[in-house]
């Protein structure tokens, strides 16, 4: 019969009379224990060894137990101090004895609770007596500690301590017991017969080597079997951040729908962030959006003068024959103040005005998936910084039906159907709609965005004389809808958990 070399080695090391543990076989064959285990199981399947399992119990002292080996048991130390103080003759104040014994903290309680139990004397009304006949040298627990001092994980049968003492030591937390399963292999009769008949070693190799390949030997060898079912060590490769993956998917979708990507400053003048959006300077929204104004630097250097004049006129007088402006003051210096953008519509105003890439002729589609900043209260669903998906379409004669159709198309790409439109108010769009979608798993109606057709008071100063419909949405909201994350802070920012980032499901 032919067997792989490891199996042959194990068979030769094993005995028919006495079981040998895997460790013993490993030592005898000079093979790693996991290889021996594999070989033993293979041989068992072949009917060449019988495998028995036995549970071994071992004992070892705890740290506390080891301390008492050197210091002595607390009750013994108390007894010795009591003898010293003459408590074998007359009761002595306990405080004095304890002081003399050097016991402190929890050790005092331990000493007191074992003192009388073990017959060292009595404690009564704060006084202590010592039994002159007690013999600390005969203390079974102390002796057991001494006996166990030098052994580590000794098999319980091998230690010379009676089981009652072991139990009391364990109860006192001075001793730990461990159980482990030991597999032992014994040769079967068939193995003995086969061995007598002679077993040949089959040529098996562990590794495909260059020599094996070039020499042509590979044709004659057998490859050792692996345990192909076993888990391998955990591998940590790199991953693109899950929020970036989501952003990329959104970008791909929008590019596919004909949108060009915008880029622009995070720190920008209020002019681009708010004034160009026909947001009156005293509108509560300009504070209730809780903007992050900059302390340093404070103001933008230059704004296009003619655009500033047109925007100011729109704010004061409105646009068109029947238009009217806000009955609010307008101040250029206020418009020049710098802030972290509260929405990426500042990019839209820069593009629509021609400031970013020159004048645009309809039709156009533009988008960005970029960070915005709002001084909101931090909680599981709100961050101070988050990504806004901004998009707009510029064309002649756009209607609210086109706006609705664009959304339905976009959100359908993310599995969000049944978009609902709630008429809404924004200072810069009319008509305006809040968008609601149905959560794919919970069935809940959730707000997913805000949209509308830009007002003429906004577009005319920017030099746009056709329609522009626009919308904004928080990327994180989309991510939470898609993944069901509960706390966005696990993902975004320096509080992130690497393990979560390493193991999050990819999106595509």
């Amino acid at each position: 019969m032919q067997l792989p070399s490891q199996q042959v080695a194990v068979l030769e090391a094993a005995s028919a009379d006495e079981g040998m543990s895997v460790d013993a076989l490993a030592a005898a064959t000079d093979l790693p224990p996991e290889t021996v285990t594999g070989a033993v199981f293979e041989l068992e399947t072949e009917g060449l060894v019988a495998v028995s399992e036995r549970v071994d119990e071992t004992v070892a002292l705890t740290d506390e137990g080891r301390d008492y080996v050197t210091e002595g048991l607390p009750e013994v130390r108390l007894y010795e101090a009591a003898l010293e103080a003459g408590a074998d003759a007359d009761p002595v104040s306990m405080g004095r004895v304890i002081g003399a014994s050097g016991l402190e903290g929890g050790a005092v309680d331990i000493a007191l609770s074992n003192y009388a139990r073990k017959g060292y004397g009595a404690i009564d009304s704060g006084e202590i007596t010592a039994d002159p006949d007690a013999d600390p040298d005969a203390d079974a627990e102390a002796n057991a500690l001494a006996a166990l001092a030098d052994v580590e994980d000794a098999p319980i049968d091998s230690v010379d301590v009676d089981s009652d003492t072991l139990e009391s030591l364990e109860r006192r937390g001075l001793l730990d017991r461990h159980e482990s399963t030991v597999r032992e292999a014994t040769l079967t009769e068939r193995a003995v017969t086969e061995l007598m008949a002679g077993i040949e070693t089959a040529e098996t190799v562990g590794q495909v080597t260059p020599e094996l390949l070039t020499s042509g030997e590979w044709e004659d060898v057998e490859f050792a079997d692996y345990n192909v079912e076993a888990d391998a060590e955990q591998f940590e490769g790199g991953n693109v951040h899950i929020l970036r993956q989501t952003a990329e998917r959104v970008k791909d979708t929008l590019v596919g729908m004909g949108f060009q990507e915008m880029d622009g400053p995070h720190v920008d003048a209020d002019f681009w962030i708010n004034d160009c959006l026909f947001m009156p300077q005293d509108h509560p929204a300009r504070t209730h959006w809780d903007r992050f104004a900059l302390e340093q630097p404070t103001h933008i250097d230059e704004l296009p003068a003619d655009l500033v004049a047109r925007v100011e006129r729109a704010h004061k007088e409105g646009v068109g024959e029947d238009g009217e402006g806000y009955h609010s003051p307008w101040d250029e210096d206020f418009a020049r103040a710098l802030a972290l953008r509260g929405h990426t519509t500042s990019l839209s105003t820069r593009y629509l005005s021609g400031e970013a890439v020159g004048d645009l002729e309809p039709p156009q589609r533009y988008f960005s998936v970029e960070k915005v900043y709002r001084n909101d209260t931090l909680d599981p669903t709100h961050l101070l910084e988050f990504f806004q998906i901004e998009g707009w379409v510029m064309a002649e004669d756009l209607s609210v039906r086109d706006l609705m159709g664009t959304f339905e198309e976009f959100y359908a790409q993310f599995g969000i159907e049944d978009i609902q439109f709630k008429p809404h108010y924004n200072p810069y769009t009319e008509p305006s709609f809040e968008l609601f979608g149905t959560h794919p798993t919970t069935g809940e109606l959730v707000e997913i965005g805000n949209s509308g057709i830009f007002r003429e008071e906004m577009l005319e100063p920017l030099g746009v004389d056709c329609d522009v419909m626009a919308w904004g949405l928080a990327l994180e909201r989309l991510l939470m809808l898609m993944y069901g994350f509960e706390d966005i802070r696990d993902i975004h920012g320096t509080l992130c958990d690497l393990e979560l980032l390493r193991n999050t499901e990819v999106t595509y």
Partner: protein, 604 residues
């Protein structure tokens, strides 16, 4: 979003729809854009409203809108006020910062507890919205019977008022009313109150919620409401004040006097508003007048006498907007008959008439009631028509507009570099752009303005959320170290990278801030060393076909002798090295870390 509290029983009363259940009302309100948020302790609906329809800040206004929605009301309704009896005289001494005043008399109000509450809520909500927290417009409502209007002639003889005004006191036309004087006890002719400016300690009165006399300056210091609104007037030389014959009774925009406090027993009211813009306070007044009129009260005009002109208020005049039929159709994306448009307008509480424009196109002359403060442009009328039609009745369609999509170059470059880093085994991170000075500089042993990579001057935030977010990070290394610091319980190696935003003050930029993307990477494991970092940096340089040199340099974040400048295509763009043990200990790290960071732009 702001909320308004509406009692559903009152709503049923005022709309005349007793049969509506709470649920039905909530649904109807949602249709108006008023979202049900919950209930108050008293069981009233808490409704979230978008801050455009300020005429819906009271139960009366909401009921009016519902009646239009139900079809119980159509077109425009304007109450007709009686002719003026009372006059508000505006004195020269009025503070320049708050020159405008308006007012109305409202008679025969029937205020029960709910009515009074609704009036107070309307006043508060108007203050919060149009009134810009009382800065732009402030409302004072008084019990008319407690006012002793003086005859303008006797007023001019009054010594104390002679200081405040006199030259402009109009010789009053004695009013031949015939009737016995109504609520006003002293109205022998033409009862007048005066809007004036007083010295901060120039007079005394008993304010609301107080039982002692105070000067306006005392109020700003010692009265709770006074302290809340002190900032509005504390810079003024003279404080705004309103007088009747008995003295100071209102200190706008801060607080009214206790003498004229309105209660459920009040039958006749004097409503005054002061502010920084006449249009704004007139509109606020129109909204209040409509609400009281809806409760069956009678409006009476008030003459407002400025030094150089005279107004009669409330202003309930209507404005018109010309709306093109074609524009309605393109915005809504549907064809409509003129009759349908007229019908939609009436159902919106507007009135429209068809006309022909100069170009021969069909247009509508649309009349807007005085309480509508939100209609600035014909487009706003179209929005009303769309709501009346029902936007959700419209079929979505994908616009037939052909454009070509594409990515910005910056985002393509960022993406390509990120792909390479992830391929090298880095975990891609996404950190906050806001950080603290301590994290950005101190904990990496550098100082703002140091002539080393990453130590630019900070762009700082005026009112940060907390001390953890006071500036924009000048480099990404601090964020990477914070992530290492918070993940020491996770398995190593930890190879982290971020291609992220960094910013520093730069006067040559238009915004004063230079914004850039940095490529930052850290390698943390037991044998991490300079070579590991350099090998990856070299690979990146090869991938992007740029020329890389790493001459030795000094940087306090890194170990001396194991630090190099990153020079790409001859330009110094970053730093690479092994992090200094000081920095590692500072971040509770027990493994070596090698790192590099440079400007993404260098790979272009």
């Amino acid at each position: 979003m702001p909320t308004v509290d509406i009692d559903p029983d009152e709503l049923r009363d005022l709309t005349g729809h007793d049969e509506k259940s709470d649920e039905e009302l909530q649904e109807d309100l949602f249709g108006l854009g008023l979202e049900f948020e919950g209930r108050t302790e008293d069981g009233a609906f808490e409704l979230e409203f978008a801050p455009d329809r300020l005429d819906r800040l009271s139960v009366e206004g909401v009921a009016r809108s519902l009646r239009y929605q139900y079809g119980d009301a159509r077109g425009v309704h304007v109450p007709s006020p009686n002719s003026p009896e009372w006059t508000i005289e505006v004195d020269d001494s009025v503070p320049d910062e708050r020159p405008y005043v308006t007012g109305a008399v409202v008679r025969d109000v029937d205020l029960d507890e709910e009515g009074l509450e609704s009036l107070i809520q309307l006043q508060e909500k108007l203050h919060a919205t149009m009134g810009r927290k009382r800065a732009k417009g402030a409302i004072g409502i008084h019990d008319l019977t407690m006012l002793k209007g003086r005859d303008a002639r006797s007023a001019s003889e009054n010594e104390s008022s002679a200081e405040r005004s006199s030259a402009n006191s109009r010789a009053a036309e004695p009013r031949d009313s015939g009737d016995e004087p109504r609520a006003s006890p002293a109205a022998d002719g033409n009862p007048t109150i005066q809007y004036v400016g007083v010295e901060p300690d120039g007079d005394r009165f008993v304010p609301l919620d107080s039982d002692r006399e105070m000067t306006p300056a005392d109020v700003l210091e010692d009265h709770e409401t006074g302290r809340t609104y002190a900032d509005l007037v504390s810079e003024y030389e003279r404080y705004p004040a309103i007088y009747d014959d008995l003295g100071l009774f209102s200190f706008p925009p801060v607080i009214n006097g206790r003498r004229t406090e309105v209660s459920t027993d009040s039958r006749d009211l004097f409503v005054e508003m002061t502010g920084t813009d006449q249009w704004t306070i007139d509109k606020m007044l129109a909204i209040v007048c409509y609400a009281l009129s809806a409760r069956g009260a009678t409006l009476e005009e008030v003459t407002v006498e400025y030094p150089d002109h005279e107004l009669v208020r409330p202003d309930l005049s209507m404005k018109t907007k010309t709306v093109a039929h074609d524009r309605i159709e393109t915005i809504l994306g549907i064809g409509l008959d003129p009759d349908e448009v007229l019908d939609l307008a009436e159902r919106s509480g507007l009135e429209a008439e068809t006309e022909e424009s100069e170009d021969g196109d069909l247009v509508y002359e649309v009349t807007i009631p005085p309480y509508r403060v939100d209609i600035l442009h014909p487009l706003d009328v179209i929005d009303d028509l769309g709501r009346a039609y029902g936007f959700n009745e419209l079929d979505p369609r994908y616009p037939d507009v052909g454009t070509v999509g594409g990515r910005h170059e910056r985002s393509r470059l960022e993406n390509a570099a990120r792909t390479q880093l992830v391929g090298q085994g880095f975990e891609d991170l996404l950190n906050f752009h806001m950080i603290s000075e301590e994290e950005n500089y101190d904990r990496l042993d550098i100082s703002p303005g140091d002539d080393i990579y990453g130590a630019g001057e900070p762009a700082t935030i005026k009112e940060p959320y907390s001390e953890d977010f006071t500036m924009l990070r000048t480099w990404v290394m601090p964020s990477l170290l914070m992530v290492l610091e918070r993940n020491t319980h996770r398995s190593y190696p930890q190879h982290l990278a971020e291609i992220g935003f960094a910013a520093a003050v730069d006067e040559s930029e238009n915004t004063g801030v230079a914004e850039s993307r940095h490529v930052g990477a850290v390698l943390a494991h037991h044998e991490a060393g300079y070579e590991d970092a350099k090998a990856r940096l070299q690979a990146l340089a090869r991938n992007f076909d740029v020329d890389l040199e790493t001459p030795p340099t000094d940087h306090p974040t890194f170990i001396p002798g194991r630090t190099a400048a990153i020079v790409i295509d001859g330009e110094e763009v970053g730093v690479i090295g092994e992090l200094h043990p000081k920095v590692l200990i500072e971040h509770d790290l027990e493994v070596p870390v090698s790192a590099f960071e440079f400007d993404l732009e260098a790979l272009r």
